[in-house]
Symmetry: C2
């Protein structure tokens, strides 16, 4: 049976040693001193490890069931949901006026990782509610905010996002769901939406669906899409619940994983909805939710990798199999533990160096998100917007790969469902798909974000790297192991960007053929930068005589592994990119 230990110390290291959050001038950050974040993380960690983690396999095994439109969640989910709700965990970073605690997103992200790692399917119920609440917060009228947000903040009511239809997922311009305007200002929504996570369940008294639909007579395609608030039970002016609205869950899907979360087919039949934001500007409003959700999904990828890694390490220490080639390490036992073997260590260090680097990257993203939201800093917004597809795409691709590596450590026992290692892989698999499949992330990155504002934000990223390298150019501890590899990797990223600039204008396919590799190349450079920063922080702590030398030395060794063993992937991605469009585009469709 898999278990989960909150990585509080590693989180504290990033928050305080690397990012020095309480020293930042972002409003709200001064409160984030080490004692405070430690107290919050400890409490969240307790819930994650003691309440949510034990329900993870229950959710996987039982799954959800649908009978007469009613979805039953797995045993124990409702009690745990009440506990999360009562602890105020569902609205950490929502405004106080709606019942939230107004904490920075960076803290919500760290807490979110723990919840996701311990039980992804469960955490989606309130995670998506948070996303829907954010969209209402950003685009809703005062009445809408007052009507919906307090109960969504507390998760008395949960939220969903309804985009996909059977014939369209990525290409939402094809959507058929209609919204007919009514005299009272409301709309009648009709159509079918699929893949609606938490679309129906038994843990909240109301569900606030955000639904994309087209108002007849509006512009064709994506420009004619509007966003609507469509509650399961209409909400009266006094806040009490009124009539049941015209939607039903007609099916829940059998999926590869996240069985504990109900993935619903939702049929809307003259359901009453209210416009959220402006007519035909639905995509803009939805993207508030999507961008937040994409960072959240990147976090899930890392979270599953962390949980899987923890179990793989324990197994590698416990399982006795074979002998160290350089001499017995457990001479009194029948064999040495797996962890003596170089190839087991290779697999564990791939995971460890990814997870810790990815966490630093994600929290840096959340830091920029806070700076953008709390100070209106457009540069921070531009940079986090550029990195959002990388956080989503790279962290979930790699996160999934890491769950596979962790499962592999178990040998045959990992393939057996009892071990829980299969579930990590099956659950992590969805993160590469939902909130925009990773190919779409790569397209967003290379086709849109890269050239935004004349390439200003990618230049800002290179500036971050350059500044770090310059500031530490005299640092002999870092030079060979961290600075040189980072410089090389960053050059590969620059060369790739240059290739796109020189070739992408006359042939967009020359850039798009390399989009996926660019996303990974960028991701590696980001993790390389985060490891260089982490190593720097660790070295400084050691210089200052930190008591826990073992912890900081481990950071240096793990970081060096990333730089030496993982970062060389950048040259490969560049080579692929520079091979251009021709190898990719030369086959006719019927030659495949």
């Amino acid at each position: 049976m898999a278990s989960y230990t909150p990585p509080t110390k590693d989180m504290q290291f990033i928050l305080h040693d690397v990012l020095d959050v309480s020293g930042s001038d972002i409003p709200g950050y001064a409160e984030l001193d080490a004692d405070f974040t430690s107290a919050v993380l400890d409490e969240a960690g307790k819930l994650a490890s003691e309440v949510l983690a034990p329900l993870n396999s229950v959710g996987d095994t039982e799954g959800c069931s649908l009978e007469n439109g009613v979805v039953r969640t797995p045993t124990g989910f409702k009690a745990a949901f009440d506990q999360i709700r009562e602890g105020g965990w569902t609205a950490l970073d929502l405004p106080e006026e709606y019942g939230g605690q107004n904490m920075p997103a960076i803290l919500g992200t760290a807490v979110g990782e723990m919840f996701s790692a311990s039980n992804q399917a469960f955490t989606m119920y309130h995670g998506l509610t948070h996303g829907a609440a954010s969209a209402i917060l950003a685009h809703g009228t005062d009445d809408q905010k007052t009507r919906y947000l307090p109960n969504m903040a507390s998760c008395e009511w949960t939220g969903t996002m309804n985009l996909t239809e059977p014939h369209c997922g990525t290409d939402l311009g094809l959507m058929r769901t209609k919204a007919d305007p009514q005299d009272d200002g409301s709309y009648k929504i009709s159509g079918q939406k699929i893949f609606i996570s938490s679309g129906e369940h038994d843990m909240a008294e109301n569900i606030i669906h955000l639904v994309l639909a087209k108002i007849p007579g509006g512009p064709e395609g994506i420009k004619g899409v509007s966003l609507f608030i469509v509650p399961k039970f209409l909400v009266k002016d006094d806040g009490s619940l009124g009539d049941r609205n015209g939607m039903t869950c007609s099916k829940i899907e059998e999926k590869m994983g996240i069985h504990g979360n109900a993935t619903c087919v939702m049929d809307y039949d003259d359901a009453t909805g209210w416009l959220l934001g402006e007519e035909h500007k639905g995509m803009r409003a939805m993207f508030t939710m999507m961008n937040e959700a994409r960072l959240g999904v990147g976090m899930q990828g890392l979270a599953q990798a962390e949980a899987a890694y923890q179990n793989a390490v324990e197994y590698a220490k416990d399982r006795l199999q074979g002998r160290d080639v350089t001499g017995d390490q457990n001479p009194d036992g029948p064999a040495d533990p797996l962890i003596v073997h170089p190839d087991i260590r290779r697999a564990l260090l791939d995971q460890k160096s990814f997870v810790e680097g990815a966490r630093a990257f994600l929290l840096w993203g959340a830091f920029l998100f806070d700076r953008s939201h709390r100070t209106g800093d457009e540069d921070a917004e531009g940079l986090v917007s550029l990195m959002t597809p990388v956080i989503k795409g790279f962290l979930t691709d790699q996160g999934f790969d890491m769950t596979i590596l962790a499962q592999q450590i178990y040998g045959g026992h990992g393939y057996i469902e009892d071990s829980g290692m299969s579930q990590y892989a099956r659950d992590a698999r969805i993160t590469m798909i939902y909130e925009g499949a990773n190919g779409v992330q790569a397209l967003d990155l290379v086709g849109r974000k890269l050239a935004q504002s004349g390439g200003k934000y990618i230049m800002a990223f290179f500036e971050e790297v350059k500044t770090f390298l310059k500031e530490n150019s005299e640092n002999e501890t870092l030079k060979a192991d961290f600075l040189d590899p980072l410089k090389d990797a960053s050059k590969h990223l620059q060369a790739a960007g240059m290739y796109f600039m020189q070739n992408g204008v006359k042939n967009p396919n020359a850039a798009l053929s390399g989009s996926y590799d660019f996303m990974h190349l960028f991701g590696h450079v980001c993790l390389g930068l985060m490891w260089a920063r982490s190593a720097n922080a660790a070295a400084e702590a050691l210089d200052k005589g930190a008591a826990d030398t073992d912890f900081y030395n481990t950071k240096l060794i793990t970081g060096r592994y990333y730089m030496k063993r993982r970062l060389p992937a950048t040259a490969m991605h560049l080579a692929r990119i520079e091979s251009g469009a021709d190898p990719v585009m030369s086959l006719d469709a019927d030659q495949f």
Copy 2:
């Protein structure tokens, strides 16, 4: 619902255009002319696509059940098994004297790919029987051969291999199962074996278990392990079935995939067994089976990738989503098919170029296997023995990755079990684990095979590459696209071998830390070589005025993709290898 189309034409291309099998002097190969192999492959393909493929999702959904020691296989499996059996498909390459057809293994391998691709869980029942029969053929007494082989060849009786115990998988020296010698020359076998594929089922009247066990008083560890034939029903001298033997299936495992195959816990309690081969030489006898099984598992990896790829291509052609950035390709439709998008093509070409290159590699392996078995050529045996861990490890790692890429093309629909794409990934996942987890393959390759006979066989491999490059050095069609990349990749492999030689003696961990990367580096060079050969064959066919120019041009384009986009991975693997033991070995176990 997923479907399967036999890739007969691609197989014919490799057999005849690339390997020119009927022109080979290997006994039995002269009969393998294009008409003959085409007829066999067509028949096998019909069974695969029409009988086995439709049962693939049935097996996944129903799984096997155990009641009172009796395992029930999924609906339809028994009828299909009878059909496979009656067609003589279970003993294509077994000797005629035992009811086989004595065909070369290369043809059995091509047929095996089709069966595996259409239904891996089903095909394991007769695939493992074949392996067990091979071990009896190689090590059995005349009496044992006569007693067991005819019914195993026809799969009236099926076979298993029993290695793993709860506390030992890779390290079989720890095994506890005992074999007590009896006065009549038999042994009493007692102990528990786990992960026994096809250990119990309802499709055959007898099951011949090959069981590893220790004879008390024998040498410690792996040197005291012997192999035994332990039939479910004892076989009388007249060939009829006697008493039920002392073993029961006490549990079948819940697994991530291959649900249609019963993975059994087998409890042996004073079961009667007979020594196969010599006392304490069980591992040698078992390796006959293991080596064959490892080639077979490599084949499964490729097979699942092929099947998944086929469905991904169809989906990419059918599914309308988004527009070609260079101009609408389907102006009358609501959107263009997915396959217009460069990143979809990238994902499809990763799969296509892998599958076709891997198939050539596998069949080349089978070719060498035949040469070794049918002519006693020790060089061929040495080379295929060297490449066996690469075929197993590389083809299954990559094959699994390709099923994930194929699933990804479907977006959310791929995560839903209905599409069948999840099953390909879940089934393929086991191939990285069973018959020796891939890390063990890498260890076998670098720790044993590489230095065997003074490195003679890796030198022979380089000679193959060198000869090909030399013979084609004037070929301008191949030079830039195939020969140069192959030369570079081969140099990386040589450099890696050199690094091991220079560093591995004084520090074995310097070699073992790079073993996994070496396996992948080697695999890429092998596929590069096979693509160069395939391109050469295609170019020659075009020169000779072959009618099907489209087919041959597609080979050239697909091969070029591999060389340009996949082969650059070799430099990355070399960089990882050359980073040595230090990054891998520096952490203490408790620092993980």
